[in-house]
Amino acid sequence: MSAAYLLRRLAAILIVLLIVSLTVFSITQILPGNAAVMILGEYATPAQLQALELKLGLDQPWYIQYWRWFSGMLSGDWGVSMRLSQPVAALIGEAFWRSAALALASLATVTLIAIPLGILAALKRGTIVDLVIGLFAYVGTAVPEFVTATLLLVFLAGPDRGFLPAGGFAPLSEGIGAALSHVVLPAATLSLILTAHIARQVRSEMSDVLSSDYIRAARLKGLSERSVVLRHALRNAMAPAVAVISLDIGYLLGGILVVEEVFAWPGLGRLIIYALQNRDLPVIQAATLVLAFTYALSNLVSDIVIARLDPRVRYA
């Protein structure tokens, strides 16, 4: 892995952002409703509207508007929310870290459960253990987040069985217990579908590895089963597992929209839904770009991890 490679990858991320920004910008351009009307309300005078349009640059051609906005995004000037009248950067900054906490908690849970589960299923292939894990994986991938969330609420956060808070967010300053109790249900919801999916993929990768010639060769050298699995098989199955996890991060980022909405978690997902419902263009645009950037970056990180795991992968 060379510095040139990293630079190129970062350039590729910039291209992705460019495409995403153009897409989002054109989508928001078609949105009905004039920004000036939104800000000033329906009863503003034409003169007021015109003055604001001039100030916002709405009279300019689209590409000038786009360039202003995109260069603003790159330089940190993300505009002002139309509805909340706050700087978009501040709004997103606060929400981003709350979402990141939720996403990381889920990702950690998923990784810790799904990988051992998949490996176990592959090792016990054809047994009842494999069947049970397989069934869980199939059912798990078939339940959308809003259903999981609703059912978890009904059974774990109802008025008469209120083990856990039904929603909301508690910062660490309110104590670790409170913070954790709020994160449990949304994180569990996000984890279920991903755990199921990743466990299934890991099982299939691990099965392929276990039936490979080099595993057979290792067994025929008289190595212990422990050494065959831990030393020979695991490493070869990990690289594809990381690739799957990295692709699923895209799914996770979509999932936070629903989960934050259901559990009233004040993160990026909820902010986006709010902005969509209220046509708050600057927030929609910036938040979408932030999500796309996060995803692209996580792909880069996973590629670096894969290169560490598999000596054949060389990025030059």
Binding site: R8, A12, R216, A217, L220, G222, R231, H232, D310, R312
Partner: protein, 551 residues
């Protein structure tokens, strides 16, 4: 290893190192019990090699798995026993087997690129056997590993220990596998087609190393192969296995000189023998030239504009450099080389599926770039590929496949198409009702016949055969080669016959071109093969070839 040799020679020599006694094995399948091995008897004394010869599906590899006690779940042992130095392998427990594998029985596999773990260094994979069985420390194991590698002819063993499999050549990897097999001074080593994935010259080196090591250590070896000529070179005894039964066994020289069983005779007859020519006499010197290339050069890879902008992609590699060849009417020109030598590249350029520089004069066409190749050129120059599994569209019936050139070039119309397809099927000796079948319903040899029929359907003036026999079983290879020669003689077409098999090409070709790393290094009359004036590479190839079998 040296100090262990002393211990090894102290072992009692009376009992054979490896024995099978009336051993029978079957597999349970949904269709019932399928017998894989029927009452197998073999016996290999110390220091000797038994060659086990058979075609794919004969059960030869099943025997190796049975000896290693590595049988699939659906395997059923029906009787008999397998003995290692007189001890029953069937009676050993799982943990005893783990102590035997790699220590008392070593194994060398067919393809070193899949039998080595891609994520561990070669050194780690060699050392772990020593740590496991000879209870060495890691440091001891690595220095012993270096010594072992040095004995297999690796010049810089310390550096090789640190490499990953993908950083080593096929020959180097197979040396590591052999070093591992010999590492614990085993009584017996199983070789499962260990040179099939390697080039001729590398194969020869690997076999030489094995023979030296065997002389040094007195190991017994079971050498499994489909290649009679190769086995005749290294085995002391040979057993011929056919459909799970050993049909004939004996000392190598006797068995090949005086085969008793029909199957053995058929196998020997199928092995290419340069002294028996399959094709007719070379065409007259005055015969017109059909194909001539001038400075034919093919570059591979190269970067697209976008890749260049992104700084990615590989620089172009020359697959073939300034090749000048010519083929006369009715002539078979053999092109010989190892994998990566550029021989297929030349075929693809002439067939119009690879971009080239230089000039190709063919028939009455003179072309200097791929896009200038016309349909009438393409009709007259037909290519047959190595693997019929890949070259026949799995979604088309045999009839459609053979009829396509007829329709494309307007060679037949209406009911004439069907009649011509039937005629072509008959010419390649396939039943007419095969026209309604899909390729996956045919055997490998039958599929290759379909591909040959498709090529001759166009009534070509030149047939380009790119390794057309190398994916087939030995007995099928000979039949396909004969069929090609017959059709070629009948149609008076010229032929470019590309192969890595020197013995085969000497049976077929009138002249032979040798390519090495993209260059044409030698071109001569087939009869001139042994002459001293041959290029050093041609001589090396010839020396590396196992001697043809003379019964």
């Amino acid at each position: 290893m040296t100090q262990n040799t002393a211990i090894a020679s102290a072992r009692p020599d009376a009992r054979p190192a490896l024995e099978a006694r009336a051993y029978s094995l079957a597999y349970e399948t949904p269709g019932g019990l399928v017998q894989a091995l029927k009452s197998i008897d073999i016996s290999i004394p110390r220091g000797k090699t038994l060659g086990l010869v058979g075609e794919s599906g004969s059960g030869k590899t099943s025997l190796a798995w049975a000896i290693m006690r590595y049988l699939p779940r659906n395997a059923r042992e029906l009787g008999g026993d397998l003995l290692l130095a007189g001890e029953s392998l069937r009676a050993t427990s799982k943990s005893q087997i783990a102590d035997i594998r790699g220590a008392r029985i070593g194994m060398v596999f067919q393809d070193p690129s899949t039998s080595l773990n891609p994520t561990l260094t070669l050194g780690e994979q060699l050392a772990e056997t020593l740590i496991r069985h000879r209870k060495m420390s890691k440091a001891q194991a690595f220095s012993e590993g270096e010594a072992l590698l040095a004995r297999t002819g690796i010049t810089r063993p310390a550096a090789m220990m640190k490499r990953y499999p993908h950083e080593a050549s096929g020959g180097e990897k197979q040396r590591v596998v052999i070093a591992t097999a010999f590492a614990c001074d085993p009584e017996c080593i199983l070789f499962d087609e260990p040179t099939t994935a390697l080039d001729t010259i590398t194969s020869r080196q690997i076999l030489d190393i094995f023979q030296t090591l065997q002389e040094d250590t007195g190991v017994a070896a079971l050498y499994i192969s489909h290649d009679l000529a190769l086995v005749s070179r290294i085995a002391h005894d040979v057993a011929v296995i056919h459909r799970g039964e050993i049909v004939e066994r004996g000392a190598t020289a006797t068995l090949f000189r005086n085969p008793q069983h029909d199957y053995t005779r058929a196998l020997i007859a199928a092995a290419p023998r340069p002294d028996i020519r399959l094709s007719g006499p070379a065409p007259d010197i005055a015969a017109p030239t059909v194909l001539a290339t001038q400075d034919l050069t093919v570059r591979y890879g190269g970067r697209s504009l976008l890749q260049k902008l992104m700084g990615r992609g590989e620089a172009a590699v020359e697959g073939a450099r300034k090749i000048d060849i010519d083929v006369r009417e009715g002539e078979i020109l053999g092109i010989v080389g190892e994998s990566g030598s550029g021989k297929s590249t030349i075929a693809r350029a002439i067939a119009g599926i690879a971009d080239f520089n230089g000039t190709i004069s063919f028939d009455d066409h003179v072309v200097q770039e791929r896009s200038a190749i016309s349909r009438s050129y393409r009709r007259a120059a037909q290519i047959i590929f190595q693997n019929p599994d890949a070259s026949l569209n799995p979604r088309q019936r045999v009839g459609e496949i053979i009829a396509r050139p007829l329709k494309l070039y307007g060679l037949a119309r209406g009911s004439g198409i069907e009649a011509r397809v039937a005629e072509l099927l008959a010419q390649v000796r396939l039943p007419a009702d095969f026209a309604g079948r899909y390729p996956h319903q045919l055997s490998g040899g039958e599929k290759q016949r379909v591909a040959i029929a498709r090529a001759f359907a166009a009534r070509p003036k030149l047939v380009i055969c790119d390794e057309i026999t190398s994916s087939l079983d030995v007995s099928v290879q000979a039949a396909v080669a004969r069929l090609l020669v017959d059709l070629q003689a009948e149609s008076k077409a010229s032929c470019l016959f590309i192969t890595h098999d020197l013995n085969l090409v000497r049976q077929l070709a009138h002249r032979i071109a040798v390519v090495y790393r993209g260059d044409l290094v030698d071109l001569f009359e087939a009869a001139d093969f042994d002459a001293q004036k041959r290029h050093p590479y041609t001589r090396a190839l010839l020396e590396a070839m196992p001697p043809p079998i003379h019964p």
